[in-house]
């Protein structure tokens, strides 16, 4: 039994080299694809800045806090659009975050599986609605409702606040922020749901066994456990809200000024680029629009990278604590 009989089926040296070559080739092609995609991200960042460079050189950093957009006199500044972007996105998040957490709690803690599954699917479908269709609904249905019902209501009860003063308007910051809210709820609630479903059973059971109510177990055990994940979800939602151009463009009204009220037309970075680039009246305006694009890219890179860092640290900490 101990004699080694050469296996006639065993690969010869040449065949073995073929196998190794196939492996190396396959790995090589896959690596090229992966590095290629990374290179696209790098090239994209470079190209957007290269396109914006003439405007960055001409306008300098003061572009960031100049409030103007006048193609006739060729005076341009980004402040109106940075303001519009930040205000719409922050309002959207202030509404969407508690709603998303509540939806996630409903799906993981309250609803039975039979109820949770179809509702989770419907929330996912909300994310599937193309932004241009949501914008169409926003401009023709939602905007008029906001102007005729929501804004008069807000003025009546909270009119002493400057943000709810002034004449109602179909297009403006408020409808844009609310449309963004609809767009980010599915994103943040899906992540929150995933987070809550990962809270170790014994932790919440322990809290319940000590006599806390279900809500106390959620607030004092589950929410602290997933808090870093929720902040990452919020940042991802924020990144999405910052970058949305089309739906916002349809409902925000392309205003040129900063107003204390949320009602009158305004504009965001993405929306201004979408509405003006094709019809830009001069090279200088086109370059200034590209400058807006570079600002938008920087903002969304920062939000996304910080979200990733939080997620990574969260996962590492969990791995250490469980393993």
């Amino acid at each position: 039994m101990s004699t080694v009989v050469p296996d006639p089926e065993a690969p010869t040296a040449i065949e073995r080299r073929g196998i190794r070559l196939g492996d190396a080739l396959f790995k090589g092609v896959a690596l090229v694809a992966a590095v290629g995609v990374a290179a696209v991200l790098g090239l994209l960042t470079y190209k957007v800045f290269a396109l914006a460079w003439p405007a960055i050189q001409r306008e300098g950093l003061s572009f960031l806090w100049t409030q103007a957009w006048n193609p006739n006199t060729n005076v341009y500044g980004a402040l109106t659009f940075i303001y519009g972007t930040v205000v719409t996105s922050v309002i959207a998040l202030l509404i969407a975050t508690p709603l998303s957490i509540a939806i996630a709690l409903f799906l993981t803690e309250i609803a039975s599986k039979r109820v949770a599954a179809p509702i989770a699917t419907m929330v996912e479908l909300l994310a599937a609605i193309p932004s241009v269709v949501l914008g169409l609904w926003g401009i023709l249905v939602f905007g008029p409702w906001v102007a005729n019902h929501l804004e008069p209501f807000l003025t009546q009860w909270f009119g002493f606040l400057p943000i709810f003063s002034g004449d109602p308007s179909q297009a403006g910051l408020l409808p844009a922020a609310l449309v963004l809210t609809i767009m980010i709820i599915p994103i943040t609630s899906a992540i929150c749901r995933e987070l809550f479903s990962r809270v170790p059973r014994d932790l919440s059971d322990g809290s319940l066994a000590l006599g806390s109510t279900r809500w106390e177990a959620i607030r004092r055990v589950a929410i602290p456990y997933v808090a870093p994940g929720i902040s990452a979800a919020v940042l991802l939602g924020l990144g999405r809200a910052f970058g949305e151009a089309i739906a916002v463009n349809q409902v925000i009204g392309n205003g040129n000024t900063i107003s204390r009220s949320l009602f009158p037309p305004a504009d965001t970075l993405g929306s201004r680029i979408a509405s003006s680039y094709v019809g830009a009246s001069s090279v200088i305006e086109a370059q200034s629009l590209l400058y807006l694009g570079a600002i938008l890219l920087v903002i969304s890179l920062i939000t996304n990278v910080s979200a990733q860092m939080i997620v990574n640290r969260f996962q590492k900490a969990r791995r250490l604590s469980t393993g």
Binding site: V37, L126, W137, Q250
Partner: protein
Amino acid sequence: MSATDITDPFDLTSRSNNLVRRRRVERLVSVLAILSAVAAVVLLALVLGTVLFKGLSQLDLAFFTKPAALYGVKGGIADALVGSLLIVLMAMLMAVPVAILVAIYVAEYAGPKAASAFRVMLDVLNGVPAIIVGIFIYGLLVVGHGQSAVYASISLAILMVPMVARATQEMLELVPRHLREASLALGVPRWRTVASIVLPTAIGGILTGVVIAVARVAGETAPLLFTSSITQNQISFNIHNALPTLPLRIFTLSESPSPDDQAAAWAAAFVLIAFVLVMNILAKVFAGRKRRSLEGR
């Protein structure tokens, strides 16, 4: 430390620890959570219902066979359908093979550090706003060459790759180790193990990712503004010219004051939504198949 002023913690009939108030808070929170979920469902129903109600009544055969008409006349969407179909198809052909290769590298070959770096890179690329991708392709290709459906599909492919790659990579990592080990132990080379054991096992999940990504980019408008917006409203299969597309048609019609245009916008939105919903149902079917194949049934 006298023991007399401490209430018995096991006395559940005692009201001293605010049990009533705590129960009330719990009930309130439950109601709020239920209301939030109901609000999300109602929103979906509102948007879908409006599109269905306003769009369906406008649909007839001519809407699908005629191209867009001049201002004030009711036209069709045949030209935009052809353009969207060609552009999304090309984007899919470009993005899917690349995305699957990237996923294979990350899941099968890369070390833990490289894998996590590539994952972050894909997620960051996924977070780049669509309009920025449009500017990028505009600066890289459209300047000097003019708009074209090919460039539009490249920009959509850039949006698709991270979505498909992440979905695929997660699926590949779900494939049980013992399947790979069994194949390698039989002397099957690594690449054939991946191609004939790992990929087929994960195929359901990969298809789910592809279908969802296709649905997402089919409705994407912003990159098309830069790459395929200056078009003639006639049916054309010439992919080297800018072609009219469904999302961009909805976008321009939605901002028109003409009631006819708005009616056409609803009808076009209905067609787009119907496509997206069908793709999502398809994704559910593939996801079901994935679960069965991973469970070995």
